[in-house]
Symmetry: C2
C-alpha cells in the first residue's frame, strides 16, 4: 500500500498546539465579550438541509459554494456555509418557550467551496452573536457596541479600526428616490458598490455608466459622486436625508457615542452581500495600510425567523471570523507571547525517581497545577530539550535526593532563573504566573 | 413558499443554552483533566479524504457509516467518523519537528450514518486524548489514569464504574496458543466476544459451536468457559499466562494500583471493535443497573503513524463521548444545577432609566460581571419573568431614583433574598457566587 498523505484536505488547516493556542486566544476573548453582555452559548449541527440556505443566503453561496451531497437516506444536505439560517431555525423551533429577547452566541466551523487564498479558507471558524426580539435600534447599538468591545478586548486602539455603518432602507431611498433606479438597476448598483474596493475607479465608472444607460449616465454619475462623498447623514441629498431611516441612523450614532464609541462612521457605499438584511448593516475595517480590509460585520435581519412558519422576530446579529481576526492581531502586533497551556515539566533524573515523580505530579495536579512528567527514561538533556521545545514555562528536576529532601530546583524556562522550593512554594510560583498571564480569574468559558 | 422546517437533520441535535451548558460542563471537565496531565489541544478539519479511514478503521465504519461524497473538484471526501487517523496524520506531518512524547487532546464533532437511538447520534462529540512516542506501559498507565481521573472529576465514586482491561497480544495468545483457532476462526471469535453482552447466553453458545466446528466444539466450549471465568491474569490457563503480554498486564495493574486506582479489572472478553489496536485495550463501564454499558475506551495502536510514510511511533489513546457521559451523569445524579452563564439581569424601571442602566452595565462589565440589560422598554413584570426563565442568578432593579442614589436592590433569584447594595458590593456578591459555583479559579480552557 502507498503511504497515506499527511496533508489536510485542500483549503483547510490542521491546528498544531501552538496554532490552536492562537485560535483559542481569539475564541476565549470573543466568548468573554459575549458573556459580559449576557449572551448565552448554543450549538447546531454541522449538516443542514440545503433548502435552509437556498431560501435567503443568496444564489452564489447556496448554489456554488456549498458542500452539498445526498446522504445514504437520499436527503439533500450541506455542510453549513454560515450560521444565520441555523440559529434562526433554532429560535423558531422554540418561538413560544424561549425568554425574549434571546441573546445567543456560538463559536463554530463552516465550509465554503471557494478558491483558497490569504484570509479565505474552505473551512473557517466564526463567532456568531445575535439578539432576537428587539425592534428598537437599541438592539443594533448593542451588537455594534459588542463589535467595538471585541476589538478593544484584544488590545486594539481606536485608531486601528473603524466601524462603517449603513442601512438597507436608506440604501433603497438612495437607489429609488434619489438615483431613480428601477429594480434591476438597483440590484446591479448594490452589487457594484459592494465590489467598489475590489476594482479600479475606471472599472467602477464604466460599470456605473452601463447600469444607468447612456441617457441617464451623466446625471447618474454626478448623483453617485454626491453619495460617495457623504461622510455624515447630513451630507446626504435631501431626497435621502428626509427618509425615516436617516433619522434612525442619526439616533443610532447618538447612542453609540453615549457608549463611548468614537470610531464609527457613516458609509453610504457599504452594502453587505447577504440577501437577508433589512435595516442597519455594518462592517469593522482594519485601518492598517498592510491589511486595509473588512474584518467582519453584521446587521439587522427581521425576516428570517418568520420563514419557519412562526410569528416573525426582529433580529440583529454579526459573524466574526477567526482567520481575519488573527491577521489583524498579527499586523498590529497584538498577539500575546506563545506559551504552553502546561505549567510545569518534571525532568526525571534516574529510573528510580519515576515512581516518586509521578506521586509528586499527582499532588501538584490536586492543587491545580498542569504537570507533564517525563516517563520515557531517556537522558536528562533530551528531557530538558523537549520541555523547552514545548514552551512550558517551568521545569523541575526530580531525582531520588530531591524526593527524599522534598526540596526541588524550579527553573523558569524563559528567564532561566532557578530557585530551590518545597512543593507548596512550587505551586504558588507556578500558579501566580498563570494568573498573571491569563489575567482574569473568571475566564472559564465552558461554565 | 412553504415554511421551512425547524427540525435539525435526522439523528442530530440542536443545543439550546440549557443543553449547551450541560455539554460545556462535560467539555470543561474533560479539558481540565487533560491539561492537568500536560496534554495540549489541537484541531483537524471536519472533512478528510476517505482513504484515511479505509486504511485501518475497519470495513463497517469506512464503507457503511461514513458521510462520504465527491466535492466540486472531484475529490472523494468524508465527514470524519472518528479522530484517531486524523491525529495520526497530524503527528506524522511534523514527525521530526514535534517534541516527543507528544501529548495531545481535542474536543470535536464527528458523524456516522447509523440508526439513531438512545446514546447514539449521527453527529456526536468526543474528547480524544493520545500520547505519542512512549513504548513502555507507562504510557498505557497514564492514559488509563486519565480515564479514571476524568470520572472522578465529575464527582463519580469508585463504585459507580469499573475499568476493564485486556491486551490484543494476550487475545492472540488466547485464540491461537490456547483455543487453537485458525485465522478465520480467531476473527469470528473476537467478533463474537465483542458482541457477548448484546446477545443471549444461548445465542453465544450456538455461535461459538459454529465457529469451533462440531469436532472441536466440546473442548472449545470448555476452554472458552475457563477464559470467561478468569478474573485476574493468574486465573488464565498456563498457555496464555506464560505469554510475555501477560507479565506486562500484571505490571500494568501494579502501576495502576500505585496511582490509587482500585476499580480496574482484567477482562479476557474485552475486544474493542477497531482494527488498529496492537496492545492494551480498555473500557470504562457504568455499574449503574439502569445504564450497565461501556462509556468509553481506548488502547495502544502502534501502527498508525507509520502508515503516512514516516518512522512509526508507539501510541496510546482514548476517545470519550459526550452523550454517554451525560447519560452516566444523569443516572448517577451528578449533573450540577443549571444556572445561566449570565450573572445579573438589570430590570429597567421607566424609559428614562435606560441610559443610566446601560452606563451601570458598562461599569459592571469592566469589573468582570456578566450583565444583561433589558432594553425592550416593556413592563417591569415581563422583564422579571424573562430573567427567571433564563435562570440568571441575580437581578437588580434600576430606576431613576436608584441611579441618583447609587444604591440598588439586588435580588437572588434562587433564594429570593434581597439586599440593598452599592455597585462595588454588587460586584463582589455576584462574582463570589460564580467563584463558588465554578470552583477552580483557573478553569480557563482556551488559554
Amino acid at each position: 500500500m502507498n503511504a497515506l498523505s499527511t496533508k489536510p484536505y485542500k483549503g483547510t488547516r490542521d491546528y498544531y498546539p501552538e496554532e490552536k493556542r492562537v485560535q483559542n486566544h481569539i475564541f476565549s476573548t470573543w466568548a468573554n465579550v459575549a458573556q459580559r453582555f449576557g449572551y448565552e452559548e448554543y450549538a447546531t449541527p454541522i449538516l443542514e438541509p440545503l433548502e435552509l440556505f437556498t431560501a435567503k443566503s443568496g444564489q452564489e453561496l447556496a448554489n456554488e459554494q456549498t458542500y452539498v451531497f445526498t446522504d445514504r437516506g437520499d436527503r439533500t444536505v450541506t455542510i453549513r456555509p454560515e450560521m444565520t439560517p441555523s440559529v434562526s431555525r433554532l429560535v423558531a423551533g422554540r418561538r413560544q418557550e424561549m425568554a425574549m429577547p434571546a441573546r445567543l452566541y456560538s463559536i463554530a466551523n463552516f465550509m465554503r467551496y471557494e478558491r483558497p487564498q490569504r484570509g479565505r479558507e474552505r473551512e473557517f471558524w466564526q463567532m456568531n452573536i445575535d439578539i432576537f426580539g428587539v425592534q428598537s435600534l437599541e438592539a443594533d447599538a448593542e451588537i455594534i457596541e459588542m463589535a467595538y468591545q471585541s476589538m478593544k478586548a484584544f488590545g486594539a486602539r481606536d485608531d486601528m479600526f473603524t466601524i462603517r455603518i449603513n442601512n438597507r432602507e436608506l440604501i433603497d431611498a438612495m437607489m429609488y428616490s434619489y438615483l431613480k433606479c428601477d429594480g434591476v438597476q438597483a440590484q446591479l448598483m448594490i452589487k457594484l458598490l459592494d465590489r467598489k474596493n475590489k476594482i479600479t475607479p475606471e472599472e467602477f465608472r464604466d460599470q456605473a455608466i452601463e447600469i444607468f444607460g447612456t441617457e441617464q449616465a451623466e446625471s447618474g454619475l454626478m448623483k453617485l459622486a454626491t453619495l460617495l462623498q457623504s461622510r455624515t447623514i447630513m451630507d446626504l441629498p435631501v431626497e435621502v436625508r428626509q427618509h425615516e431611516s436617516a433619522a434612525n441612523m442619526v439616533r443610532l450614532f447618538e447612542v453609540l457615542t453615549e457608549a463611548g464609541i468614537a470610531n464609527a462612521v457613516f458609509d453610504p457605499t457599504l452594502m453587505r452581500g447577504l440577501d437577508y438584511y433589512t435595516g442597519t448593516v455594518f462592517e469593522v475595517f482594519d485601518t492598517h495600510p498592510d491589511n486595509a480590509r473588512a474584518l467582519f460585520g453584521g446587521g439587522r435581519y427581521d425576516g428570517l425567523v418568520g420563514l419557519f412558519g412562526v410569528e416573525p422576530l426582529p433580529t440583529v446579529g454579526m459573524g466574526l471570523g477567526a482567520t481575519t481576526m488573527q491577521q489583524f492581531l498579527e499586523v498590529h502586533g497584538l498577539l500575546p507571547d506563545d506559551v504552553s497551556t502546561t505549567d510545569l515539566y518534571l525532568v526525571v533524573v534516574g529510573e528510580k525517581a519515576l515512581k516518586g515523580a509521578k506521586r509528586l505530579a499527582r499532588e501538584l495536579r490536586e492543587e491545580g497545577v498542569r504537570v507533564e512528567v517525563d516517563i520515557t527514561g531517556r537522558k536528562f538533556d533530551k528531557q530538558l530539550k523537549a520541555a523547552l521545545k514545548k514552551r512550558i514555562p517551568f521545569l523541575a528536576f526530580i531525582g531520588e535526593e530531591e524526593l527524599r529532601s522534598e526540596t526541588f530546583i524550579l527553573k523558569d524556562t524563559k528567564t532561566t532563573d532557578e530557585q530551590v522550593v518545597d512543593m507548596s512554594r512550587m505551586v504558588s510560583v507556578v500558579l501566580d504566573r498563570r494568573k498573571k498571564t491569563t489575567g482574569d480569574e473568571f475566564d472559564d468559558l465552558f461554565i
